[in-house]
Symmetry: none
Subunit: 489 residues, 2 copies
Amino acid sequence: MPITDRRTLLQAAAALPLATAGASVALADAAPAPAAAPAKPAPAKGVTRALAHYIVTASYDDLPANVRKEGVRTLLNWVGVAIGGSRHQTVDIAVSALAPFSGPQQASLFGRRERFDIMNAAFINGVSSHIFDYDDTHLKTIIHPAGPVASAILALSEMQPVSGKDFLNALVLGVETECRIGNSVYPNHYDVGWHITGTAGVFGSAAAVGKLLKLNEQQMVWALGLAASQPVGLRESFGSMNKSFNPGRAASNGIFAAMLASKNFTSSDEMIEAKRGWANTISTKQDYNEILGDLGKRYEAALNTYKPFACGIVMHPAIDAAIQLRNENKLTADQIDHVDLKVHPLVLELTGKKTPHEGLEGKFSIYHAVAVALVEGAGGEKQFSDRAVNDPTIVALRGKVNPVITPGIKPEQVDLTVVLKDGRQLHRYIEHAVGSVEVPMTDKQLEVKFTDLADGILPAPAIRRVMDACWNVEGLSDAAEIAKMSVSA
Amino acid sequence: MPITDRRTLLQAAAALPLATAGASVALADAAPAPAAAPAKPAPAKGVTRALAHYIVTASYDDLPANVRKEGVRTLLNWVGVAIGGSRHQTVDIAVSALAPFSGPQQASLFGRRERFDIMNAAFINGVSSHIFDYDDTHLKTIIHPAGPVASAILALSEMQPVSGKDFLNALVLGVETECRIGNSVYPNHYDVGWHITGTAGVFGSAAAVGKLLKLNEQQMVWALGLAASQPVGLRESFGSMNKSFNPGRAASNGIFAAMLASKNFTSSDEMIEAKRGWANTISTKQDYNEILGDLGKRYEAALNTYKPFACGIVMHPAIDAAIQLRNENKLTADQIDHVDLKVHPLVLELTGKKTPHEGLEGKFSIYHAVAVALVEGAGGEKQFSDRAVNDPTIVALRGKVNPVITPGIKPEQVDLTVVLKDGRQLHRYIEHAVGSVEVPMTDKQLEVKFTDLADGILPAPAIRRVMDACWNVEGLSDAAEIAKMSVSA
């Protein structure tokens, strides 16, 4: 092929061997400047390194009490959803597909009997924990923080001894890393189509695993760089098993990155902020202050929330409103003429499926969610089963649910009116649904959720023991106890 | 490949409609639209499924002879570079980091003694094959096609029996898949910062592995979807070990995707073309005709090229000229008074280092490259070693190399004159260097390159046996022979 333009040649030249940093810079400098390029702020410098420095130096003793407490709640909630999802067909398939390739039996599969190497175990546990879309949420970014991080370090804790305090510190740092990196590119990065839990999550896993591996600063820089090279997940996969795949793969990719970095497998020193690094390549927005601002003072990890309902949080206000009206008025389906909801555009964008045929699809249907909440007064996993989405009463009612995009309604709000056949109108406005930062689930509610999820998988005394171990993680001399007691007999 | 065929292909490609940035092409509307009123293209439909259908139905017997031949050359070149890179520190580190997690010893590491599970083996072999940046290139996209694909299916062939014909068919289909997907988003996708070998490559690996696993069409759709969820690599990593990481991880991610899909782990049916699918999320350009146009007729896999010299292509014309004059005139260094080269400005911009001290620096020195080519008649990895750049004869001669930027000389050209002490002037003009599409490396030249790379790693008789097995891949009843005979004793 004739090399007819400068760019082609430069791109070919970029395929040069493992080069010195100076040579790489020369290549970048040689690129032709775009015509009439808009003035740009000076390039960011040192973002990756400053973040790495923070991760390798931050200690458990630095954590404020509220951050520690939220870290513990993050852990307990994650263990519950991981056990709860462990018998799903998605997990059976993953176990069956990966068993022939697993390394030594280093780590437990939550809620099951098999043991896999830590990377495959982290993947499978990450899948389990997201199956029901019932896990935790960092509301500013819609990242589900624990999936990529807890999956990774719970597996690692079975391979090398980790104290409970060090474990909790790593969990918080991993969550902090992924949420801050998520903030830096949200919403543009998410809007275009990335599943941000998988793209930011791999940094969280790498950071947390790297922390427990005691990487030095340079190695942590490389771990973050190798993590940046492995983003996971597209929103188009929502509604398929591929959605749960994403936090699982983020967890295993993060371990992969950290393990290579621990042996000095190199990357760039500026993979997050460089011109052709992660943020510029994967997003049209980059706000590095979100990554580095007030490190060790402002904690995104303290803002984690837990789902009271087994579906995407955009539907939670509507479910909350529907359950409240149903219970207060002892409503039955045959009384209802129709339901009007004023919603934020994201509700229809994410959960606009009108005729779900399977339980999983029901999680992406605001129509089903409102109908089942009115009929059954709940929004747990059973309400998003194949049984529920095909229940004739619920199917009939969902056809009468009318969500309308309404200016002024925020994503966390809903304005819901149930119009009865007798002409009455029952109205409920939700400013913050239960499970939000403002109306958090109580510790007791988290235990009820955990127990419901683990019921039928672990015996009741085992469920109690696991929950106690999670609440007491800071007192454990060996954090591996949590994983070891979370397996099926 | 003959130039006439190449032109035919280019004309065919040029006849395809071009996509507009940010828009999708309706495949149904692929015929030229009426001149008036340019209608906004409808969303693309069925791209992933149509590609999957092609992959699962295309057979070895469908392959034209020239495509089969180029597939064999692709294989032989890859095996050579994988063996050649196998003793590099980068590979030692990867082996050391991953050994504790490897599953059963299913697959060989080329040029080494260890055996890993097929996913980890594919990763490591993919890293080895890209270490020297000496592998193959699809010049339209700068994808290095074999890395992700050959790494994956050579490992797989050791786990399940694969005939040589089926192996070659899978190799071609994998290369075809990744290059077509690469074409669909190039150059925008590459320009913004993605390492396209790793992002498109994972599709190639998934397609080739899925083909050998005999996935049905729906499973292949899911395999491509899970591949789409795992893009690898950013250009910022160029110049670090992370660059070689990318084709390796693309290979293992593709296996991961195909293995899960083989057990019916689901994804979306439209992961490539959906609004929030791969192409729209990862690129501002989407041209689906590049993916589906003339499937089974136009073969990107026939356009693969191989580097004859272990350095960036800007120096290739000069090295080619120098070797030709040396060999034709049996030149020795002491005969040479000086060397004049007329070159394009990029040659000095990218490779203007006058006094390299280490082998790696030699790859950025046109002075060294010409001198070593005149002295040793080659431009392989050994000519860019610490030994070569410090050889007194070569050091003396490089001081007599005078590159002059000359208007009218294109980047792919050189005009080189060796002036001898006896007054004679030896002149050679290169229009296209060896290794280009126009002047492809001969089979013999590929063997010389292979032998040079494998020398010191495999004994000479073993090198001969491996090359013969590659040339004869279509006659092998078990393709695993290639990997098994490529290991160190």
